[in-house]
Structures are given as structure tokens and as C-alpha cells.
């Protein structure tokens, strides 16, 4: 089976230790997590993990099954890229002098559709959201001028189809 990119979305309770359980599922199978993001979800008191892995469908199916088995996981899904809307965010910290000395920098900012978050005497910060390739491209363009600091977030994504979590939670009746 061929390896490909999968985005795993995990809806869960927000409890201490759950991240350890989730990451352990990958550790046990010697599978690397390419990116990980944890945030609140569209449902009150429900967290959402967004995890990107490069593996086979057999493994991602197995992993999602193991995740759903965890007591505090409500539901987990996996999608290929075509089934989701996704992006990442990056911050670039750059020497302020370059903003005035290098005309090219201003072009990069304009063409990359990035925002200047802050400017100080010593440095300015650029924020860029988009696909991994766009962020990489911007990084490559800025690199020759010197990047003081760079950071990129994990992928965040929403699926094109419906994830029926609220219905599941509403159905729950402690008998």
C-alpha cells in the first residue's frame, strides 16, 4: 500500500495526559507525527487534535481505531488532502534595516500576501498563512537576506464533509 499524507482529526475531552496517550499510539508503531495542533473545537468543552502523518491507509485506519478506543476520545476521523481545507501559519522575524535597504523585501511581502505584525527599531515580524509550499517558498525568498527567527505552526484543517460530533454527544444518555 502506498504512503500518502493524512490529516487525522480527533475530538476529545480536555484532560491532562490525553496528549500522552495520543502520541503513544504513534510511538508504539514507530510512526512519526509530521505536525500536531491542539485547540478548542466548534463544541463547548471539546478539544480537537489535528495531526498530520505520512503513512499508508492501513496504518492510518489502525491508528484512528486505536485513538477511538481511548476513553476520553469522542471520535476520530482521517482524511486525505483533497477532502479537507487546510493551512499552516508561519512567523518570520527579520532585521528592520532590511525593510528600508532591500527593495526586494517589500516585493516579497506584497506578493506573498503576508502581513506585518509588528515593527520595532531592531526587527519586524511577518505573518504568513497558507499551504506548506507557499510558506516554504517565502522562506526560500527571504533566506538570502537573513532570517533572525522562523517558526511554523502545525496544520489546521476543516473537512469538506460533516463530522457528526454534536449528534453523538446529544445521544449520550447515562442509563
Amino acid at each position: 500500500m502506498e504512503k500518502q499524507w493524512f490529516t487525522i482529526s480527533v475530538y476529545s475531552e480536555n484532560n491532562v495526559g490525553l496528549l500522552n496517550r495520543i502520541s503513544g499510539i504513534f510511538l508504539k508503531r514507530h510512526i512519526n507525527i509530521e505536525s500536531l495542533n491542539v485547540s478548542k473545537s466548534e463544541i463547548d468543552d471539546v478539544s480537537k487534535f489535528t495531526i498530520v502523518v505520512y503513512t499508508t491507509e492501513k496504518w492510518v485506519h489502525n491508528i484512528v481505531g486505536q485513538m477511538e478506543k481511548q476513553i476520553e476520545v469522542i471520535k476520530a476521523f482521517y482524511h486525505i488532502d483533497e477532502e479537507t481545507i487546510y493551512q499552516e501559519s508561519a512567523l518570520f522575524k527579520i532585521n528592520s534595516a532590511l525593510l528600508f535597504d532591500e527593495r526586494q523585501i517589500q516585493n516579497i511581502i506584497k506578493e506573498s500576501n503576508s502581513q506585518i505584525v509588528t515593527v520595532s527599531r531592531d526587527f519586524f515580524v511577518l505573518a504568513k498563512s497558507g499551504r506548506r509550499e507557499e510558506i516554504n517558498e517565502m522562506h526560500d525568498l527571504l533566506k538570502p537576506f537573513g532570517i533572525m527567527q522562523f517558526v511554523r505552526s502545525g496544520r489546521i484543517s476543516v473537512s469538506k464533509d460533516v463530522m457528526k460530533i454534536s449528534e453523538m454527544l446529544n445521544e449520550f444518555q447515562p442509563n
Binding site: 495526559g17 496517550r21 489502525n62 481505531g65 477511538e68 478506543k69 476513553i71 476520553e72 449520550f172 444518555q173
Partner: protein, 575 residues
């Protein structure tokens, strides 16, 4: 059904108690009357309350925390109740890990309670501090650290609910010392559900109908059942299905004893050292019906060649097991008692005599080449197989057999005969040497009216030999049989077959086991001659006290049939 005691606990108005005392009330409310453990600094407040509540709770002091977990497992496996083990922080807690891993892979309901350093010391590398939550996460169904006494009732209720519901498993609760001392208003309510957890999927009638259709149209159907039948209390339902549809049925090690050995359609064990017929015929059946089993690699051998010709039906409670190892045609999710119960009326009364005959023919081949020499040997040295055969005769096949790990375990599972369920207790998934002695203690305490016989090798016996102290102190009338070949027999067998007889570190120079048993005032005997064996076993069974019997067996004996690691079930070797 709630007991009166539970109702009283539930309706009692709140009372102010310490966390430690609350733990006692929680255990009592959950129906616990026996637990195994070992005290230490961070769990002392709870032990102090155990001392005050001896009328309600019996605590068995094992000689090592690992022994406490295996005893709790043995107790749980034989009784169907939740086993409870307790330990202090640090090394006490880490010593539970093997038992937790064993209970996790063999789906045994167990609650472990560990003490922890006081809350303000967490993360300071305090004396006997260890991150047992982090350590136990991969080997527990659920775990939780209590740092505030008021959490105790709800967390205990949830722990017992999770341990025993759905596919059972071990739960660990870590309790900081301050939470044991602090007082709070106690009231207890049993857990009835957790919103993010569906223990038992609802059966899908469509898939049950599809399964029935496949079974009704099958010419060569075969059942392989596992422990799910025992955990789901579905023995009667499975037997009814087997009888009505006339399907030959084999078992995994964990499923053994669910159906009596003597049942005419019970065709034996599958897997690495299973019976010849069911292994070979797995690759000839047209419909394979798996019930409450998980296609472990020791069962399937090479997956690439496993039952490829068959339509596979999988009755299973855990959705994560579906298509995990073997791709199935029909998955029937749910509790086995319920799903088999729904299947039964849809099945046609049927017989598959010529197909069943194939199993009988294969059995005859296995009998002539292997079994005959194992249980009625003509060679000089004693065989493990004949010891088991003599135990069958002397015990009337009514005993609970608790085996350790290795050759003797395979001989026990192959040759012990059973009349009732929950009678074969062994470490199936994890293969934990040292399991049997403490597990037999727990099993005996979980079924005092039954004969409990531990079958142990000389290697595994010495891994938890200190638990003889529990047998001595509490006068637990278990029967211990050590099959001594002065080797780590199973590893030696592999070295003989696959490593050109290079016996690296498998020779054991053993102590005088009888003297050790005598040191614990346990009646004991050693036999090495065939003419003494029968009487010795008879004497052991007749005793109503703890009894230790060493049988010196032939050193270089092998377990066959055998599917070599990674080979196909069709390639099972008879010699």
C-alpha cells in the same frame, strides 16, 4: 442488580471522611472484599484505614508488587470480578507495570491503586516519586492522578466502570498523599456511563443476517473462538451455535475451557503449538467464523497465507480489532452473548460430517506422531504431557489450571482437559514468566471451592518464587507443580531448531526446590520416576493443604506440532 449494600452506600447522606477512608468506602461500594498489595510511605494513610476496616476488606500482603498484580489477575480471570492491587509510589508503582501490561493485552479487569508524593512535591524528584501516570499510559485502559480528595468517589466509580465494561482492561489510579489525608464530604454514586466512551457497540441486524447467510450456505465452516466468549459470558450461546449449525470449533489459548474439551465438535487449539487439524484446515475451510478473538500472530502465523480461501466473519466487541490483522468479509460488532444470541435463530439446523471427519483424520495423524508419545511415552524420561494426563485423571478435569510461560504452558493448554469455563488461566498475550504462582494464589481466593493447580517451569517459578510466602502466611491451598527440566525449555527448543543447538544461557543450575518449599512449611515431594508419578499426583490432589510437587522431566523434550515463526498455518510441523 444492585446489592443492598450498594443501595445503602448510595442513599447514605454525605459524611465527612479523609481521602484514605473514602477509598475504603469506594472499594466496598464496588463490591470489593479482597485486594492484594504492598505498603509503603506514600500509601500509608490508606493502609491505616485498611487496618481499621478489616471486617469489610481483606488485604493480602504479597512479597512483591508484581505478585499483587498477577494475583489480582488470577482472581479476576477465575471469578469474572474486578481484581484490585495496591502499591506505594516510586518502585512500588513501577513494579506493577508488568502486571498492567499483561492485563491490558489479555483484557483482564483490574484496578491498581498507587500512592504518590504529596501534591506540592510533584515534579520535584521527591523521595520515591515517579511519573507512574506517564509510565503506565501505554499499558492501561485508563489512568488518572487524584490530587484532591474530593475527586476520589467519582474517579473510583469511573475506574471500576471502565475496567469491567466493554472490552475489559486495567485501570490505574494514582493518589497524592495530601488527597489521602484531606477530609471532604463523601457520597458515592456508581458510574453508569462516560460520554466519550462506548463500551459495547450496538449489534447491527444486517451484519448478523449476512453472517447467518454465509454460515447457512457454507460447506466447510469452522469456528475459532477466543476469550471474548468467556468475558462476554457467551459460553451457552456459542455452544448452541456450534450444535445447531454443526460447525467444528477450535479455540485460542485465551478461549480454552469456554466449551468442554469433550464436546464432539471441539476440535482443539489453533496457533503456533495448536492442534494439527484446526491449523491446517484453517486454510481449507470456506467460512471462518472468529468469535471474540483478535488474530494474534501466534494464532495466524503468516498473514499473507492465512485463510485466504475463506470468507471471514468476525464477532468482536472492540471496533479497533476489525480488519486490524485479517481483512474480514462480515464484521459483527457487539457483546458476544448478545450477537450470538441474535444469530442462533437465523441458523439452519445443519451437519457437516464429512468436513468434521477431516478434523478427526488430522487428529489421528497428530495422535500417532505426537500425542501418543507425549502422554503415553515409552522412553525413559518423564514427559510433561504424561504429567498433565495424570493430573486430568486425578482431578476429574474439574481443576482450574494456572500455567506460567514456556513449554509446560503449551503442554498444559494442549493436554489439560476442562469441563467448565474460566478454568484455564495463563499469560497468553504478554507471555509473562512468573505469572503462574501469584495468579494461582489469586485464582484460589477467587474460587475457594475449586481445585487450583499451578503448572510452572523451573525458570518461571524462580521469577516469583517469593510468593510462596503468601501461601504460607495465609495457608492458601493451591497445588504447585514444577515441571523441572533444568532448562529454559522453550528458548532451548528454539535454540535447538533455529540456532544450531547453541544453548546460550538456557541451562539452569537449580536449587533444591523441595527444601525451599519446606522452608515455607509447604508439604512437598519430588518425583523423577514414572512408577512414582501417579501416586504423587494423587496424593497432591487428595491434600486439602498447599502442596508442592516437583516433577523432574526429560531435559531435551520439544513441543510439537509447531508453526515456525512467520510460516503459514499450513506449514505446521509435526516433528
Amino acid at each position: 442488580m444492585e446489592t443492598v449494600k450498594e443501595k445503602q452506600t448510595k442513599t447514605k447522606s454525605t459524611i465527612k471522611v479523609s481521602g484514605a477512608e473514602a477509598i475504603i468506602h469506594c472499594l466496598v461500594a464496588e463490591g470489593v472484599d479482597l485486594l492484594f498489595g504492598y505498603p509503603g510511605g506514600a500509601i500509608m494513610p490508606v493502609y491505616d484505614e485498611l487496618y481499621k476496616h478489616q471486617d469489610k476488606l481483606t488485604h493480602i500482603l504479597t512479597r512483591h508488587e508484581q505478585g499483587a498484580t498477577h494475583a489480582a489477575q488470577g482472581y479476576a480471570r477465575v471469578s469474572g470480578r474486578v481484581g484490585v492491587a495496591m502499591a506505594t509510589s516510586g518502585p512500588g508503582a513501577t513494579n506493577l507495570v508488568t502486571g498492567l501490561a499483561d492485563a491490558q493485552i489479555d483484557s483482564t479487569p483490574m484496578v491498581c491503586i498507587t500512592g504518590q508524593v504529596t501534591r506540592h512535591l510533584l515534579g520535584s524528584d521527591a523521595f520515591q516519586e515517579t511519573d507512574i501516570i506517564g509510565i503506565s499510559t501505554p499499558v492501561t485502559k485508563w489512568n488518572y492522578q487524584i490530587t484532591d480528595a474530593s475527586e476520589i468517589p467519582s474517579v473510583f466509580a469511573k475506574a471500576f466502570y471502565i475496567a469491567k465494561s466493554g472490552r475489559p482492561g486495567p485501570v490505574l489510579i494514582d493518589i497524592t498523599k495530601n488527597a489521602q489525608f484531606d477530609e471532604f464530604d463523601f457520597s458515592y454514586k456508581k458510574c453508569k456511563g462516560v460520554r466519550s466512551y462506548i463500551p459495547t457497540p450496538k449489534p447491527n441486524i444486517g451484519s448478523i443476517t449476512a453472517a447467518a447467510e454465509l454460515i447457512n450456505n457454507a460447506k466447510k465452516p469452522m469456528i475459532v473462538w477466543g476469550q471474548g466468549v468467556i468475558l462476554g459470558h457467551a459460553e451457552e450461546e456459542l455452544k448452541a451455535v456450534i450444535d445447531k449449525a454443526g460447525v467444528p470449533a477450535a479455540w485460542t489459548i485465551m478461549g480454552e475451557s469456554a466449551i468442554p474439551t469433550s464436546h464432539p465438535l471441539n476440535v482443539g487449539m489453533v496457533g503456533m503449538h495448536g492442534n494439527y487439524g484446526p491449523n491446517v484446515l484453517t486454510n481449507e475451510c470456506d467460512v471462518l467464523i472468529a468469535v471474540g478473538m483478535r488474530f494474534d500472530d501466534r494464532v495466524t502465523g503468516s498473514l499473507d497465507t492465512y485463510a485466504k480461501q475463506a470468507k471471514v466473519i468476525h464477532f468482536e466487541i472492540d471496533p479497533a480489532e476489525i480488519n486490524k490483522n485479517v481483512k474480514v468479509d462480515v464484521a459483527v460488532l457487539g457483546d458476544s452473548k448478545e450477537t450470538l444470541g441474535l444469530l442462533l435463530p437465523l441458523l439452519k439446523q445443519n451437519k457437516h460430517d464429512s468436513w468434521h471427519n477431516e478434523f478427526k483424520k488430522k487428529y489421528q495423524i497428530e495422535f500417532d506422531t505426537v500425542i501418543k508419545n507425549d502422554i503415553h511415552p515409552t522412553k525413559e524420561g518423564l514427559t510433561m504431557g504424561e504429567v498433565l494426563e495424570q493430573i486430568n485423571i486425578a482431578s476429574g478435569q474439574n481443576a482450574v489450571m494456572v500455567s506460567d510461560v514456556g513449554q509446560h504452558q503449551m503442554f498444559t493448554c494442549r493436554y489439560a482437559r476442562f469441563k467448565q469455563s474460566k478454568s484455564n488461566i495463563t499469560s497468553g498475550g504478554l507471555g509473562t514468566m512468573g505469572f503462574a504462582l501469584p495468579a494461582a494464589i489469586g485464582a484460589k481466593m477467587g474460587a475457594m471451592d475449586r481445585e487450583v493447580i499451578a503448572i510452572i517451569g523451573d525458570g518461571g517459578f524462580q521469577m516469583t518464587i517469593q510468593e510462596l510466602g503468601v501461601i504460607f502466611q495465609h495457608n492458601v491451598p493451591v497445588k504447585i507443580v514444577v515441571l523441572n527440566n533444568d532448562h529454559l525449555g522453550m528458548v532451548r527448543q528454539w535454540q535447538e531448531l533455529f540456532f544450531d543447538k547453541r544453548y546460550a544461557s538456557t541451562v539452569m543450575v537449580n536449587p533444591n526446590f523441595v527444601k525451599i518449599a519446606e522452608g515455607y512449611s509447604i508439604e512437598s515431594k519430588s518425583v523423577s520416576k514414572r512408577e512414582d508419578l501417579k501416586a504423587a499426583i494423587k496424593e497432591m490432589i487428595a491434600s486439602d493443604k498447599p502442596y508442592f510437587l516437583e516433577v523432574k522431566v526429560e531435559q531435551e523434550d520439544n513441543v510439537f506440532p509447531m508453526i515456525p515463526s512467520g510460516a503459514s498455518v499450513s506449514e505446521v510441523r509435526l516433528k
